[in-house]
Each structure stands twice: as structure tokens, then as C-alpha cells.
Subunit: 320 residues, 3 copies
Amino acid sequence: MFVRRNPQLNRNDELIHLLSIEGLPASIVHHILDTAGTFLSVNDREVKKVPLLRGKSVFNLFFENSTRTRTTFEIAAKRLSADVINLDIARSSTAKGESLLDTIANLSAMHADMFVVRHSESGAPYLIARHCAPHVHVVNAGDGGHSHPTQGLLDMYTIRHYKRDFHELTVAIVGDIVHSRVARSDIHALTTLGVPEIRAVGPKTLVPGDLKEMGVRVCHDMAEGIRGADVIIMLRLQNERMGGAMLPSAGEFFKTFGLTAEKLALARPDAIVMHPGPINRGVEIDSSVADGKQSVILPQVTFGIAVRMAVMSIIAGNSA
Amino acid sequence: MFVRRNPQLNRNDELIHLLSIEGLPASIVHHILDTAGTFLSVNDREVKKVPLLRGKSVFNLFFENSTRTRTTFEIAAKRLSADVINLDIARSSTAKGESLLDTIANLSAMHADMFVVRHSESGAPYLIARHCAPHVHVVNAGDGGHSHPTQGLLDMYTIRHYKRDFHELTVAIVGDIVHSRVARSDIHALTTLGVPEIRAVGPKTLVPGDLKEMGVRVCHDMAEGIRGADVIIMLRLQNERMGGAMLPSAGEFFKTFGLTAEKLALARPDAIVMHPGPINRGVEIDSSVADGKQSVILPQVTFGIAVRMAVMSIIAGNSA
Amino acid sequence: MFVRRNPQLNRNDELIHLLSIEGLPASIVHHILDTAGTFLSVNDREVKKVPLLRGKSVFNLFFENSTRTRTTFEIAAKRLSADVINLDIARSSTAKGESLLDTIANLSAMHADMFVVRHSESGAPYLIARHCAPHVHVVNAGDGGHSHPTQGLLDMYTIRHYKRDFHELTVAIVGDIVHSRVARSDIHALTTLGVPEIRAVGPKTLVPGDLKEMGVRVCHDMAEGIRGADVIIMLRLQNERMGGAMLPSAGEFFKTFGLTAEKLALARPDAIVMHPGPINRGVEIDSSVADGKQSVILPQVTFGIAVRMAVMSIIAGNSA
């Protein structure tokens, strides 16, 4: 029988690329979170640099612009003492008609050690991982609507930090789930880590029906969706992704699914509120909640640096 | 009685942000200049780096584009061994509608140690300093027409270098004073350091009348303005800031207020000629003067790196 | 008798700038290639950095955009432990009307140690080398149609690596020679190193007639051009440089001068195929050749990093 290997793992089942949380064993997810924990003390120290990637060259290949995500990877790589090369891909050889794989082959020949890839096409990081030289590692920094695994991992770090155990949690993901690679990565991660109740909350146009098959409870009613939840993950309403008439106005959305103090009171008293950022105040979340006691939105950002340092240092230490 | 604290100083009156020269005691100004002096020998050595900011992350936040100023801060930070992150703010989250303060909160959560801020709105660096986390330091790299304190400080370094004592000097600032944050910072600095005669020289449309209240002598006649001066600071004629009919043509301006060898002969024989750059040859300054013996325009640039290193290392060493 | 000195060499005939291969003695070319060889082992080691340029500031001045070339210099400089400053010249002071030489004087005053210059005007790097401060070194990263010396040197490294001795070689350069600074640099280098037969192969509109005076054999017939060749250097068809009706269509060009396996069979069985990249598959080269056994296109990229490290470290070690 032919078993297709997970392209993220080597023959010893060690992580060599991070392409998606789908298919990662829970042990590897926990190993990443544990490693991130060791870097967080690093982030609090006076000198934050560690020499784990000294002499390594990390290339940020952002085919789709995202200053915020690129910055978090740049900081993480520099704190590991790597050399970081930011490639303005829109203006580079690909604009001259060079194919993606030729660009990758050329950069590999420059002895790149790691590619951090953001691409509007789902699967582009897989294509790169499949064709790059054996010494090169690939991190998916978001591909189309498919996956955003480091965001998923930092969300798991945040939940574990505040809730310790995944096995009795109710987690509600609220908003534009159909267009969200974050939601997709979170659902895979929560499932892998044994969360018993995952809810996808939003209007019918924004919550895909096939989520039920993944064991997710679909709620088109906000009160039902967040009642008793331990964790609420609000998603960004990405107006730029919407097509035409699918969506109510921002004001209507806020009224029904925007998280206010009043709605938050339906969740457990110690529920935490998360958001991948940047937040739209008054659209998916009220300012009083975003800045309130239960919000862990800014800690998420801090944990995100540590999680990216963990991913980079782990894959750089394993060979194909 | 309520006394509002100077937001640049901590409770021990130590510098924690550099927002404006206004309100800085002379002792702090001299401390910055003395510290810059120690870095200048560094700049002459073979290896110019010092490890004072090793492990620190400096973010260049240029909401208004200025490659030259950004470069001087980038060089200064790298010579202090900091990690430097250049944020292309125009393309980042603020473009997605995120507020300035949310952007700052997010970058602070990434454990930024210092923000170098250029903004077209006067006061933006103050707003950031007021709201950022206690471990973060802010340097104003120019805000609207308000202030450009590191330029003011490097001008003071230059004057002290060539003239030693401020207490008997006549300093003439010539040109477009009304639009110049440099002029404003220089006037505050010269006043703080005890310069007895400061002259603001230019046409009525470009020299604000309220300068007299700051103890500045307003001269609308060029000969009167530079006669007997020890220091002449020529300002850049910023055509892009001018509105309509306020201004004579560049040719007319040069005839009346442009610094030529002939006009320079009215100043003291050992007068120095300064300019913040980039110069407009044949508009505010003749090439023979810009490239002449009395010009200290290029030394200003060199001193500017040292002054920025001094500011960064001093504020990084003090805690809120 | 007045002998104009080679501006690339100091009084001891040591390399202080790299402006062109024209006029470089063979001994210096071989010294660069030998030094590059020592860095290649560096590129294979786990930690690739060497501290030869620690504390030095390298400025990438790309007046003409080229992400690929800039990246190779950035990597090379970082592997030598230099601080690298990328200047987006199109948006900087030159856009405010500052002259090239004023920009250079200002950057020199910031204690730049090296300028890597790409410019659309032939001779711009010479102008900069002539006017910059004595402590500053200049590397030409391509100037107009004139010269691209580091590409020429990495091509020589590649040939020497695979063929050892230059003195019995036949080298064919194929394609758009008239617009190619690479071809020009290669011809000078091959001549300097004693290659007995250099052929320029292409249609009459793309191969300049004066090449014969340089000792180059001009071939307008592809079969004649590559028959018996040891080395075939295919050039990129730069559509963006073409003016109007000079050129056949891409399809016609491929039929006549595109390198296919069939045409390659006319060369020596151990001939190597080179290309400066990025390649146009199906225009100047067939994919089966580009990806075939005789292709050394990707090794060229790897050698290019080492050659740039060699050039930078050699010139930084010599003083004017």
C-alpha cells in the first residue's frame, strides 16, 4: 500500500517545514508550544537575542503584501541571530516573467536556509517545499484561504497559557469563517489538541456548511454560539475579500455578531477574548471588549514572536 | 498646584524620550553633545560598532517618507548593534484602517524597545510616547511643522565644535522659517544654550512675526541679518510646502536671500555656514559657498550620526 | 608623457574599486577568483559568516531597480558581517532635485565604507569613484549598457571551475549582445584570461560589428557559432530594452538562436551551458537544456555570492 508521506516531516517524523497544522501530531504541536515558552523568558530579558540561527539566511518571500506578519517573522528571525533578507517580490524577477520555481531555485542556490512564504494561492508553500533544495526549510506565513499555521499555533499557545488544559474547553470562533485561513488553522489545531466543543459562529453566508463534517458545531445565532464558552476567537471582517451582496453592512454585522460587553456576559466569567488583528473597532468587536480585562489580544502578539522563533529554530535543527 | 510633568523626562529628570528641544534643560543638551563626542572617535576607528543596544529592537516608523533621515537613524542604530526594523507604514495596517495607537500597541507587544517616528502631524510622537508601554522609548524624527530635535541637536554640536562657547555668538537663520521645524528646534536650542543674539532672516511671508516674543531678532533685510554673524544657518526652500503666491520665484529669492560669497563677506571672517540638506544650489545657496572653506555642511552630516547614537543610547539607558 | 591611472587601482596597483573588467590585469582577476574559492567552502559550512567586514557599512545604491542583483550583494555583504543599508534611491533626495554627487558626498559623510552602485547611465560608478572620499570603495553592479563586472567575474569563476585552463577554450556568447553589459564584461574577461576563441553569435541586429576589432569572431549562423564550443553563454532576451522592429518575434528567435538539445549537440560533448538569469524558457533556451546535465546555471548563482564576497573583502582591505 502506498502511503504518501507528510511533506512537513522527515523520515524520523521530525518537523522540517511548517506548511499546515493539518496532519501535525499533537506531540509536535506541544513541542512547538513548549519551545515557545522557553523563548518568552528570553523576550523579557534585557538582551533578547539567542544565537540559534547565527549565520543562517532567512528569506521573507511575501508574494502578497502583509507588513504586520512580515515584521513578526523578521523580528523572530533577528532574535535568533539570523540574517534576514526581505524580498520585494512584486518588483523582482517574477515580474520579469520568471516562474515561481525558477525564483526558488535561484534563491536556494544563493544558500538560503529558510523561506517564509506568503502567497495568495493556496498550496504555494507546498509547491516550494516540494521543489526546494534539501537544506532549505519552508514556513507558510499564509496561503490563500487555506492555512496560516503560525497564527493557529500562537492561538493555541495563548489558550494553553490561560486555560492550561484543552480537554474540557468550549471554543467559539466568530465571524467571517468562510474566508478565514486563521479559522481553518485554528479548527485543525483545536481538534488535534482534543478540544471537545468547537463552535463556528456567524451568518449563513460566512460559515461553510461542511464544517459539521469536521466535528464543528455551526451556530448562526450569536447567543447560542458564545454561551458558556471558555474562549472566544473573533475574526477580522475582511471587507476586501467580500464579493458583492453576501454580507450585511458593517453596522448590521456589529449589531448581530459584533462582540459587546453585553454579549460577552453570556460566556463563562473567566472567558478570554482573542483576535488575530488588526481589529476593526465597532465592526466585529466593541472597544470596551477589545481593551477590557478579558481581552488577550496584545499578549497574542507577544506570544506570536515566541511561537515563530520556536518554529524557525525547530525546523532549522532537523534535516531532510 | 498642578504641574504637568515634561513627558520626555522620568521622575529623576532623566531623558526617556526625545520629543522636542523645548523644555529640555541645558544640562541634558550638553550631556547629549558630550556623549556624541565620544562616539565621533568611534566613527573614525576601523570598527565602528559599539554593543550598547545589542539585543534591542529599534523600529523606524516613517509615516512621512524621508529616506535621508531614516538612513541616518538606521546607521546610528546599527552602529549601536541594535536590530533595526524599517516599517513601510504607508502599506501596513494603518492602510487597513487600524488606528495609530492600535498599531503602536501591537508593535510594543512585539517587544519593540524604541520607536523613531516621522509624522506629518505635529504632536504625533507625543501621542505615541504618552500611550506606549513603559519599556518603550520614542525619538521624534520630525513632526509636521513642529519639531525636528535631532537636527537641532546636531546643529548645536556643530556650533559647539567650531565655536566652543555659545555665550557670545550671533546666529542668523535664513530663509523659509515659517515652514521649518528645523528653525523652530534651532531657536529653542540656541536659547537654551544662552546664545545672546538669534536672528531670523527672510521675506515677511516666510518669517513669522511672533518670533520677537521668543527673543529672536527678525530681519527682512539680508545684509542686516548676516552682518557680523558667527554662524549662518541656511534653510532649504521647500517648494513642496509652499502654497500659491506667498513666494517670489527661486531666482528672485536667490537674488535677495541666497547666500553668495559677496553676502557672506558681511559676516565675521571666521563665520561658519550650515544647512540641514539637501541643498538647492543656486536657490538658497551658491555653489561657491556650499563647497567653500566656511561651509560645514558635510561635517554636520557626520556629527548627525553621532548625535543620534548619543540620543538613542542615553534614552535606552533610562527607565520610565 | 601623461599616463592616466586606472581609477580602480591604487599606487601599488591594488584593487580599491571594481568598476569594469576592462583594464584589470589577469593577476587581479585570478586573485579575485582564488579568494572566491576560499569563501565557497565557507558557503558549505554550517555557519557561513566571516567577520572580514564587521563594523563596515555597505550602501546598496540602486538607481535602477534590480531585486535579484541587490539581493546577491546584500547576502554577500551580510556573510562578511557588514551592516547593509538599502537605499530606495527613486524615493530619496535625488527625487528632491539633489545631484548625484551631493547625494554621494552626504552618504560618505555618514561614514559609508562601500557603495554598490547600479545605474542606468554608463559611467555613473566611475563618476562616484572619482568624487567619493578616499576611505570609500565603489563596486559597479551594472551601469547602462557598459559593464557588469561581478557577473563577468562569476562567469570566469564558473568556467575555471569546470574547465580549469582558459588557454585552449572556445567560448560562444549567444543572443542579444548589442544590449548586453554582461556580454561586454565577459568578452573583456575572456580576453584578459587568454581564451583563444571567443564567438559572438546572433542576428545582425543584435551583434555589433565592432566586436571583430576586439578579436571576437562574429557568427550570424547558430550552427557555426556553437560548433565545437567548450562553453556556451546564453544571454537573456531583454524585451524591455528592444526598440521597435529590430527583432524577430520570440518564437522566431527561439527557432534560430534558442538553445535546444539538438543545437547543443553541435558543441563539444562536455560543453557547459551558462546564463546570467533570469532565464526565458522557450525564448533563448529550451527547458530541457536549462534543466539538463550540461547546465551550470544554478552553480553560477552560488559562485556569484562567493565572487561578490571576494570583491568586497579585497577592495575593503586596500586603501587609496
